[in-house]
């Protein structure tokens, strides 16, 4: 069982309640595909990913970024049992999508950078720690059903 402090709960709820899921999702996935180009292996059907501009302008990337962020919402709303809430998603990523779990950390790091840029000085070290702890719990839950 993950223990959350009051500060951590409030921080996560606050960040996500104010977040533009479409925009942040788009930017985070774009950044991931540019900074870690091998992650493009999972998006062969997305068409033009030849360079940073193409990736940023690709509507399939934008749409999928939003899908991923909305998936995070499940964890925001079930902070006391993220493991159970993500059981199906974990099976999906393992059995159907065959995503190497190392990639979850790469996307999480890009999401952290995007949120940091948006919040500026509001993304204090304590807020960063809470946000990264949340993402680590999500990653652990997503990896749980792999075998």
């Amino acid at each position: 069982m993950v223990e959350w402090t009051e500060f951590e709960r409030a921080t996560i709820q606050d960040i996500f309640s104010k977040m533009d899921y479409e925009s942040v999702g788009h930017n985070a996935l774009t950044r991931c595909l540019v900074v870690y180009p091998w992650t493009q292996r999972y998006f062969a059907k997305f068409g033009n990913l030849y360079n940073a501009a193409a990736i940023a302008g690709n509507p399939l990337v934008a749409a999928h970024g939003a899908v991923v962020l909305r998936g995070l919402d499940k964890a925001v709303k079930n902070m006391d049992n993220i493991k159970a809430a993500y059981a199906e998603l974990s099976v999906l990523h393992s059995e159907k999508l065959h995503v190497d779990p190392d990639n979850f950390r790469l996307l999480a790091d890009c999401l952290t950078i995007v949120v940091a840029a948006r919040l500026g000085s509001g993304f204090t070290p304590d807020v960063q720690a809470a946000f990264q702890k949340f993402l680590a719990v999500v990653i652990s839950a997503l990896t749980k059903q792999y075998h």
Binding site: V35, A52, I113, V114, A116, A117, F123, D126
Partner: protein
């Protein structure tokens, strides 16, 4: 994942933009690391105060970022250029090299917070590669 001519140009240009803010970036990156990755504090048990605004964090942040800034000019031979720093980390400090990645991440976060418009995905990938190459050069003498 070696540094291309484009990577070097991007890093040099971006580091030029950072200018006088470099010391503050170094301090902020260290502060973020100590709070988000508390295990990294084990290397600084001899400091009286590890809080974000402390003199120790300020001074050491400046030292670290100063070395990174110097490395921007040594990108054509990081292993040669960082040889003595590698000796220091390998034989005296003995910092587990996994921590170089952790500090690099916190430098990237500090850059994103302070230069949101300039720290584009293209700049991000080149700076990430530079820090990774620097970390490898720093770990060169470990074994």
């Amino acid at each position: 994942m070696s540094l291309t001519a484009k990577d070097k140009a991007v890093v040099k240009a971006f580091w030029g933009k950072i200018g006088g803010k470099a010391d503050a970036i170094g301090q902020e990156a260290l502060a973020r690391m100590f709070i988000a990755y508390p295990q990294t504090k084990t290397y600084f048990a001899h400091w009286p105060d590890l809080s974000p605004g402390s003199e120790s964090v300020k001074k050491h942040g400046k030292t670290v970022i100063g070395a990174i800034t110097a490395a921007v000019e040594k990108m054509d031979d990081l292993i040669g250029g960082l040889s003595s720093l590698s000796d220091l980390h390998a034989f005296k400090l003995r910092v587990d090299p996994g921590n170089f990645k952790i500090l690099s991440h916190n430098i990237l976060v500090a850059l994103a917070v302070n230069f949101p418009g300039d720290f584009t995905p293209e700049v991000h990938v080149s700076v990430d590669k530079f820090l990774a190459a620097l970390s490898a050069a720093l770990a060169d003498k470990y074994r």
